[in-house]
């Protein structure tokens, strides 16, 4: 594949002082653009043995049902040509409905839910589609500044079809009142790029009286290196 340069503003600013920990961690030099055939044409190969029975149902990891609003999240992973990214590994993780992560370093004074760990993984299908069942995560405070609260989000980690497509991002929910106050979301200068991180409510993917549906499509970098018909 080939990877066109990304226009300024679409990626977050690597050093964005309102998000304090970027100041000493974001690289100061621009990434060096290089030709490298291996990462642009090959990828890790994942054994199907990595997938466990309940990896796509995050509500099925405990002895009983977790607390909170059960939802289904689905979408397609595409490349910049709009072609499906098939058979590609995708990991998700998130806080529980009270805004608490199943993680030793999370000190937020909200309860853990023994029936919800918030961890999942899956492969995209032949159309690039993924789908998982979960609990809608809660917002949580994070100490970056006074009254710093993260909008509710689900973390996504994607491996693409070639190595250079690797992406980690966060999916948000529509109409969250915290968007304007969140420096992580706001570190992306381009308004349209920010909006593309917000999932859509989907009646089509809503499952009867069981759970509401949310749709989140993902476009990874990269297009066909040898376009036809030019």
């Amino acid at each position: 594949m080939k990877f066109d340069p990304i226009e300024p503003g679409i990626y977050p600013e690597l050093i964005y002082p309102a998000y304090k920990s970027t100041v000493k961690r974001g690289p100061q030099q621009a990434a060096l653009r290089i030709e490298a055939p291996v990462p642009a044409s090959q990828n890790i190969v994942v054994s199907s043995g990595i997938l466990l029975p309940n990896d796509t149902d995050l509500t099925a990891h405990g002895a009983s049902e977790p607390l909170g609003e059960k939802i289904v999240v689905t979408g397609r992973v595409l490349d910049e040509d709009g072609k499906p990214v098939r058979n590609s590994l995708l990991e998700v993780w998130q806080a529980n409905s009270a805004g608490r992560y199943w993680h030793s370093r999370d000190q937020h004074a909200a309860p853990l839910d023994p029936n919800f760990h918030g961890l999942g993984k899956m492969m995209t299908d032949d159309e690039g589609r993924y789908r998982f069942v979960t609990i809608k995560p809660g917002p949580y405070p994070w100490g970056n500044h006074d009254k710093a609260w993260r909008p509710a989000h689900i973390h996504f980690s994607m491996f693409g079809n070639v190595y250079a497509q690797r992406l980690v991002t966060q999916m948000y929910f529509p109409n969250d009142p915290l968007f304007d106050y969140d420096p992580i979301f706001q570190s992306v200068p381009d308004e349209a790029a920010r909006q593309r991180l917000i999932s859509r409510f989907s009646l089509e993917h809503t499952v009867g009286s069981e759970m509401l549906g949310y749709e989140f499509d993902i476009v990874l970098r990269g297009r066909n290196a040898t376009p036809m018909g030019l």
């Binding site: 490298a36 291996v38 910049e80 370093r105 190595y163």
Partner: protein, 177 residues
């Protein structure tokens, strides 16, 4: 042909809470679970921020495409994932490619961390690799910065390589074309 503005999905930080979700891939490639028919080397180092303070919540992924052939029984052959430790330390035991293409890196590396809003791609070469001079990747890197991609030999099959996010010796990070 007019160029359209990219519609890619942008990046967001991995945050501080990735460990539980990412652990399965860490477990799949730790030395105790490593089944390889090839020789291995151990590359160890520390990841530092711009103050020289260790980063204790990074995740580091390494990929040795040509080493994958030695590891057909691995769940993800040639792939390693390791979280940085309390002192920013990490170590990666990787299979040395049996039919290495001269000048290819030992491994392609991707760095993730809280406060890092976009993952960073880099690569590691062994300083005693006979193919360094003909490496097409190294030859695209300004000479003064190439040392940031070289792992220093510290013993038999052991090398040291640090990651520096900022400063004079900032690691070279790539945007693959």
């Amino acid at each position: 042909m007019s160029k359209t503005v990219s519609n890619i999905t942008t990046s967001q930080t991995i945050g501080p809470f990735s460990h539980e979700a990412w652990q399965w891939a860490v477990d799949a490639c730790i030395p105790g679970n490593l089944k390889t028919t090839g020789e291995t080397v151990l590359v160890s180092g520390v990841i530092y921020d711009g103050d020289g303070a260790p980063i204790n919540d990074a995740q580091i992924e390494a990929w040795t495409p040509a080493g994958a052939a030695s590891e057909p029984e691995q769940l993800i052959p040639g792939f390693r994932r390791v979280p940085s430790g309390a002192d920013g330390e990490f170590s990666l035991r990787v299979s040395v490619p049996q039919s290495a293409t001269p000048g290819e890196p030992l491994m392609y590396v991707t760095v993730f961390a809280r406060g890092l809003v976009l993952h960073q791609f880099t690569a590691v070469f062994l300083e005693d690799d006979a193919g360094l001079a003909e490496s097409s990747i190294l030859n695209q890197v300004p000479e003064a910065r190439r040392a940031t991609l070289l792992a220093r030999r510290t013993g038999d099959g052991q090398y040291h390589w640090d990651i520096r996010m900022q400063g004079e010796a900032e690691t070279v990070f790539f945007d693959y074309a």
